[in-house]
Amino acid sequence: MNNTVPLKVDQLSIRYHHKPILTDVSFAIPAGQTVAIIGPNGAGKSSLLKGIMGLTPIIQGQVEFFGKPLSEKRLTTAYVPQREEIDWDFPIDVMDVVLMGRHGQLKFWQRPRQADRELARAALQDLGMWEFRERQIAQLSGGQQQRVFLARALAQQASLYLMDEPFAGVDVATEKAIIELFKQLKAKGNTVVCVHHDLNTVREYFDYVLLINSRLIAAGPSTEVLTQENLNKTYGGRLSLLNDLTEQMYRSRLDNAHQDD
């Protein structure tokens, strides 16, 4: 559908205070594929997604969505945050959460219209959550909460989906529903990028893999990239000298001073 690259990241660096989280990450993702971001705990997987979506300040680098900056491609990009980031005691029901997905297209005073409700209904049905539409979100199981979040992203009618650990702590039914959703999205030529933590299922669920540990270790089709050597590099020894020196550089503000010459 889209000949352009749905997501291109160029020399992205993120730090937290002086601690380097990600350094010089560059990659381009092919359209119409499911992409996994893999790496050990604290490797910066979620930060990468957040940096891409402009939720975490990046210190350098560029992100292009279909060749354009994010501000021009908001409506074609849907983000699914981690389930733990939300207060699930919030007084709201399932339908209203899913309708939030439509708010990018609603003016500031507008309430969701009938057409928006139709899209929300279709999204809930796709994820098998339609019968829960009037349920309070506090009463859902973990897997059902995840499906509500996915339905909300689906209601956005985007063509690029960025998901932060959608498979974390979900039941079998939800896992199946997510896989089914991936198939549907791919059939429509949409692209899915997921932070993923289960190495056993990567090959099965994803076409393309990014291996990350503070920097990009490898990127490519899962059949090629998931070699023992690459995995050892990703999960094995930390590049401690590299990180220490980068931190020292940030502390000394050398990167700013250096630009003068």
């Binding site: 957040k50 979506m53 402009g54 939720l55 501000s71 908001r74 409506l75 990009t77 849907a78 983000y79 945050p81 980031e85 939300i86 207060d87 919030f90 007084p91 709201i92 029901d93 209203d96 959460v97 939030m100 997905g101 708010h103 990018g104 609603l106 500031f108 005073w109 507008q110 309430r111 969701p112 309070q136 506090a138 909300r152 956005q156």
Partner: protein, 456 residues
């Protein structure tokens, strides 16, 4: 009528009663304005406070109210008048300054948000008190009444104040209605709202401005010190009654209006009374009533549910014990003494006897002199429970790899909550290797209907 008044209290009550009559006759136009103003303030403050509460920024309103005090005093000192608009602008300015400081400190220093809030609150309040003492010892005209801003006083309010109050609170309510969806989205999931391209910062600023406005116009009525209560207690109380944000807001507005009305009225009737404390006390009362008596989440309801569950578990345990005894006697003898029952299941005598009698009354048990036996109805229920218990044991030992003592412990609890559907699901999953016996070797009784068919 008024000829003889032996006690000053009587005169006071008389006066208060008269004032009340005037208040509700709507003859005193000022009293009617106070009524309307406090209603609107109660509603707008509790609605806007609800969003602060849901965003876990509850103390923001408190800090902003305290931050308004030096602004009012400065406005008075600079303009020399007690013009409502003047004081309002002063309060607004210093409240906004306070808000900016609360926002700026954690972003640019190592100070955490809660500390920034506390530091700002006490600094501005101290500044306000300092200016207030200076004004009170000075020779400035019109200075009386400024100290009423601490606790609020409806009787000291001017028609001008009330008019401003009505404009501002109506505007606040209107904006909340207009932006409801966006405010809710941001309160629920701020980062997600950002990814939708919604100007989160703008709405957050708008919310903060609404809080500042509500706080500032409420000062005359509620006072600086207790403003936080009217922002937060209504929604906290409403939380016990409803799970839907829209009804939650309506309920909170109702609580807020009711208590503001009560406080304003009392301080109007008895002018020595401060309004703020009365509002807060009546709000807290509403909160406690909600906490105790709310139909689904109230303390009493929860206690009642727990009691009922306890009784049901005891009853079901007794039925099952009698079934086990029956089984041990190969279904030949169906009457057992208390000693036999307690030998199988240790239970304190008093509740045991009471429950046995209750079960007899409900025809689950039949009493033969000093012994008890299962009635037909009781037998069916006991079979159902025993079946579920033993099915769950089988399921656990097959799927969870637990030993027989562990599975018994688990099944003792699960048997009380399993329903028909789950029972069938267990049977279905056990189908391949369903033994007619549980892991301890006791037979799993069949469904009551099947059992009856066989015995017939």
């Amino acid at each position: 009528m008024n000829d003889f008044t032996p006690y000053p209290e009587a005169a006071f009550l008389q006066q208060a009663w008269q004032n009340l009559a005037i208040f509700w006759s709507f003859d005193d136009i000022n009293a009617t304005w106070v009524l309307l103003g406090s209603l609107l303030l109660g509603m707008s403050a509790s609605v806007i406070g609800a969003f602060a509460f849901l965003r876990k920024r509850s103390l923001l309103g408190d800090a902003l109210a305290h931050a308004a005090l030096p602004g009012v005093m400065m406005a008075f000192l600079l303009s020399g008048s007690r013009d409502a608009e003047m004081l309002f602008i002063g309060a607004l300015a210093s409240s906004l300054l306070g808000f900016w400081l609360i926002d700026w400190l954690p972003k640019n220093t190592k100070i955490k948000p809660d500390a920034a809030l506390a530091i700002t609150l006490s600094f501005f309040f101290a500044l306000g008190l300092m200016l207030l003492s200076y004004i009170q010892t000075s020779e400035l005209p019109n200075k009386s009444g400024l100290d009423k801003l601490l606790f609020g006083q409806a009787a000291a309010i001017t028609a001008e104040d009330i008019q401003l109050l009505i404009y501002v609170t109506s505007a606040v309510l209107l904006i909340v209605v207009l932006f409801f969806e966006k405010f809710r989205l941001i309160a629920f999931n701020r980062t997600y709202a950002k990814t939708l391209g919604i100007p989160v910062k703008f709405y957050e600023l708008l919310l903060a401005l609404m809080i500042v406005l509500s706080v500032v116009v409420g000062l005359q009525l509620v006072g600086v010190v207790l403003m936080a209560a009217i922002l937060l207690t209504p929604v906290a109380a409403a939380r016990f009654w409803s799970h839907q944000l829209s009804s939650l807001l309506i309920l909170a507005a109702l609580f807020g209006a009711l208590s503001a009305l009560l406080g304003a009225q009392i301080s109007y009737i008895a002018p020595a009374m401060p309004t703020g404390p009365w509002i807060v006390v009546s709000l807290s009362l509403l909160f406690f009533i909600s906490f105790l008596f709310a139909p689904k989440q109230g303390l009493l309801k929860r206690y009642w549910d727990y009691r009922q569950l306890k009784t049901r578990v005891l009853e079901e345990n007794i039925l099952r014990t009698l079934y086990k005894l029956l089984e041990r006697e190969h279904f030949k003898r169906n009457h057992f003494t208390l000693a036999e029952i307690t030998a199988l299941r240790a239970l304190p005598l008093n509740p045991l006897q009471k429950t046995l009698q209750k079960l007899v009354k409900r025809h689950y048990l039949v009493k033969h002199q000093l012994a008890y036996g299962l009635s037909e109805e009781g037998l069916l229920k006991a079979i159902k429970l025993t079946r579920r218990h033993r099915l769950w044991e089988s399921y656990l030992s097959q799927h969870a790899d637990l030993n027989s003592e562990q599975v018994h412990q688990q099944a003792e609890r699960i048997e009380h909550i399993l329903n028909q559907e789950q029972e069938q699901q267990i049977v279905a999953e056990l189908m391949e290797q369903l033994h007619p016996q549980d892991p301890h070797g006791s037979p799993i009784p069949k469904l009551p209907s099947q059992n009856l068919q066989e015995t017939q």
